[in-house]
């Protein structure tokens, strides 16, 4: 348990650490710790605030550990079980203050301690950055534009369902969902409303609740071919969507959630759309697919100034991969009507190509959150 608890502390302390994968960026401070059975030599005891990398080498005969303690032995970072002759790295983000580094030969006792003094500007908190605030604000405007359209189109869809206009409802279903899918991370913040609006039938059954929302009506439209008994479901859908929108306005996403959302949308594509299980009755998955991609792109656009500054190569790669994915995807859209091909029209080889393009984009996008954090 101790290790896990300690990791939690490290997590908080590491928020402003860049996870840039380039080897050149490694060990910005290049600190070494030479541990023996009776000594613990840290190459530098006056440190700058920010992330420090300690390379701990065990030159003794006993298995050792290295800790960085704040006042009251609060663990800021630790690396355990360093065998004789081995080296391990510890990255720890320290604010201004005094700390202690400790080697524990034999992994017992209080350890051989060394005072560490950290000076300089303490790392700023993530929420303090004006740039990040601007990014979140910019995305808020995007969400606002999407939610207005979402309510309008859902209104139209619900009206068609209640009027028994099956063809019209079928036409509006993927259109209204587009606005929903673009801002899915927003909806998912409000845990209990997402399953009610966008849940799947098997999950509803497993959880012992009524099957409701988009897909309940979808099933009726495409499987039964009518709108019988759908009035209540349609009303509830609209009510729940209005609730999500209202809550979203009260509780805008942070820049970090935004970054995580850009990745979350691609995960949605990889797990739900590529498999064709999202719209299992209507096979309108490609509409959702495109909307998820657009939503992810909007999140990246909002974060762009921050990302450009922190990691321009990453932005360039993301841009390129978005372009490649779009090229792959857009061939399935009818340019005159704007309608997307039914998912069932795609061959296995075509799905594989889409899947490859999504994976290619997801890898760099998965790095965005740590880059955003490092900009604080």
């Amino acid at each position: 348990m101790k290790s896990l608890a300690a990791l939690g502390v490290v997590s908080l302390a590491l928020v402003s650490l860049s996870a840039c994968a380039s080897e050149d960026a490694a060990g910005s401070k290049g600190l070494t710790v030479e541990a023996t059975d009776s000594s613990c030599k840290v190459s530098k005891t006056e440190l700058d605030a920010g992330p420090s990398t300690f390379t701990v080498t065990n030159k003794g005969s006993k298995v050792t550990e290295f800790y960085v303690y704040a006042k009251g032995d609060r663990i800021m970072g630790e690396v355990e079980n360093i065998g004789p002759g081995l080296s391990r790295n510890l990255v720890v983000d320290l604010e201004k203050g005094t700390y202690e580094g400790a080697c524990k030969p034999g992994m017992v006792g209080d350890g051989i301690r060394q005072k560490l003094t950290v000076t300089g500007e303490a790392a700023k908190k993530l929420s303090d950055s004006a740039e990040l605030k601007a990014a979140a604000k910019s995305y808020e405007r995007y969400v606002a534009s999407q939610t207005d359209a979402l309510i309008d189109k859902t209104n139209e869809f619900v009206a068609a369902v209640k009027a028994g206009e099956v063809d019209e409802a079928k036409k509006l279903f993927p259109v209204a969902r587009t606005y929903w899918e673009r801002i899915e991370p927003v909806a998912e913040v409000f845990g209990d409303l997402d399953p009610l609006t966008d849940g799947r039938e098997p999950d509803a059954k497993a959880e012992g609740r009524d099957f409701t929302g988009w897909h309940r009506i979808e099933k009726q439209l495409w499987v039964a071919g009518n709108t019988d008994g759908m009035g209540t479901y349609a009303d509830d859908l609209l009510a729940n969507i209005k609730k999500v929108v209202a809550q979203a306005k009260d509780q805008p996403l942070t820049a970090l959630q935004l970054a995580q959302g850009s990745k979350g949308l691609l995960d949605e594509v990889a797990t739900g759309k590529i498999t064709g299980e999202e719209d299992e009755f209507s096979h309108t998955d490609l509409w959702d697919f495109k909307a998820n991609i657009e939503g992810s792109q909007a999140a990246i656009a909002a974060l762009r100034p921050v990302l450009e500054e922190q990691d321009p190569d990453l932005v360039a790669l993301i841009d390129q991969r978005f372009k490649e994915l779009d090229a792959e995807l857009n061939q399935y859209q009818d340019k005159s009507t704007g309608e997307w091909a039914p998912y069932t029209d795609l061959s296995k080889a075509q799905v594989k190509k889409l899947s490859d393009a999504v994976a290619a984009l997801s890898e760099p996008i998965s790095k965005v959150a740590s880059v955003v954090a490092s900009s604080a």
Partner: protein, 419 residues
């Protein structure tokens, strides 16, 4: 920067992975104990050398092989992929975490560079062997990646053999990575991380897990058994037989092309076995089909496992002791103009089929100086009029790859191709 070791090589030492709450699973001895000599199976195999490791390296117990297709058509992407793979392979084969921060020391907000499932596991003699398929050089008659004129003449898809039921979805590939280790988790970890590195440049076409090496490639190894229950690879080329290895495995300076010298050609064939019908065959029948005894593995012409095969010997009934259409006779060098190949195959079980029968067989792997060696032997074996074993086996996949020479302490796998 020092590499992040997943686990101490010294038997008693634990691992740094505990920092992430992952237990090493090894009890720590008192530090007064004499250092324990680690089991050989846990040690690393050097990644560098004149030849790639994983070819004449004594066969490890487990296989995970993956074939990939390039999703990018850019030469720079191919080269950067091989560089990135080489960098990772150096760390993986040494038993280290990949990347700068490894599995648990990076930013908590970013995905870990190393996927982590090998934390606490020793190097396990992991080897990673890379090869290039014909389709890497040209597709639809057009050269790719600026490799015009670089394709070895001999690197072409194998000819069709009688009885083949090949599935293109599990055949061929632009690139292949053969991961062998004594722990399947170590092999899977390596491939998974290499695949992850490749996203955006290459994607997986198919992969195959194997267990229970079916060939011994060293005199120090006991001959293992295949899924037919027979010892397999008794007469295989062994690493100690330097002359055979040079004559039959490595591409020589006169063979060309220059970039492939000290490399080798890899042939893969997935061979499904009709396990249930084989199991109903009598012992005598099984032995006549193979040409060896099931127990000791000795040839039916007499003697123990390693006795010289006498293809002319006759039994008391006046018939050939080793039947005319037995597997051993038809595969024997004497039947094939003296040709030998280095076999390195693994058993596989892909679960069961819909009828409750085992989906099992041999994932055949052979290395040779010239694919013609395999072709010659397979021509002897293939077809319902030839190898008696064909009633029980079917080849369902095929692949041929040029494996470049080894890599030094600097440079990258396949560098000679781009020189």
């Amino acid at each position: 920067m020092t590499d992040l070791s997943r686990r101490a090589l010294l038997g008693a030492a634990g691992i740094g992975a505990v920092a992430a709450g992952v237990g090493g699973g090894y009890a720590l001895g008192s530090s007064d104990d004499p250092p324990v000599k680690p089991a050989e199976a846990a040690l690393p195999v050097p990644f560098t050398g004149r030849h790639q490791a994983g070819i004449v390296t004594p066969a490890q117990d487990r296989l995970y092989l993956v074939a990939l297709d390039m999703t990018s058509e850019k030469r720079d992407d191919l080269i950067s992929l091989l560089k990135d793979w080489t960098r990772a392979a150096r760390k993986l084969t040494a038993g280290n975490e990949i990347g700068v921060y490894g599995a648990v020391a990076g930013s908590p907000l970013g995905p870990p560079e190393d996927t982590g499932e090998a934390l606490g596991l020793p190097p396990s003699q992991l080897t990673l062997t890379f090869g290039f398929g014909p389709s890497l050089f040209e597709k639809d008659g057009k050269p790719r990646f600026g490799l015009d004129g670089r394709k070895p003449e001999k690197l072409t898809d194998l000819p069709a053999f009688s009885g083949d039921q090949l599935d293109p979805a599990i055949s061929h590939g632009d690139l292949v990575v053969q991961a062998c280790a004594n722990d399947p988790q170590v092999a899977v970890h390596a491939v998974r991380n290499l695949v992850r590195i490749a996203f955006g440049r290459a994607s997986v076409r198919y992969s195959q897990m194997g267990f229970g090496r079916t060939s011994s490639t060293s005199q120090a190894q006991v001959t293992a058994r295949n899924m037919l229950g027979f010892k397999d690879g008794t007469a295989n080329i062994k690493v100690e037989e330097r002359r055979s290895v040079d004559e039959f495995v490595w591409v020589g300076p006169d063979d060309g092309p220059d970039w492939l010298v000290d490399g080798s050609y890899l042939v893969t064939r997935k061979i499904n076995m009709r396990i249930e019908t084989w199991d109903r065959e009598s012992l005598q029948g099984q032995e006549q089909i193979i040409g060896r005894t099931k127990g000791s593995g000795g040839p039916l012409s007499g003697g123990d496992e390693f006795a010289t095969i006498d293809l002319k010997a006759k039994g008391p009934d006046g018939e050939l002791a080793i039947p005319e259409k037995s597997h051993v006779r038809l595969a024997h060098p004497d039947t094939n103009g003296g040709v030998k190949i280095l076999r390195r195959g693994y058993n596989f079980v892909d679960g069961s089929d819909g009828l409750g029968q085992l989906s099992a067989g041999l994932f055949f792997i052979a290395y040779q100086r010239d694919p013609e060696q395999f072709i010659r032997i397979q021509k002897s074996l293939a077809g319902s009029q030839n190898d008696l074993l064909n009633e029980y086996i079917v080849h369902v996949s095929t692949g041929v790859f040029a494996c470049p020479p080894g890599v030094g302490r600097t440079g990258f796998v396949g560098e000679t191709l781009f020189a």
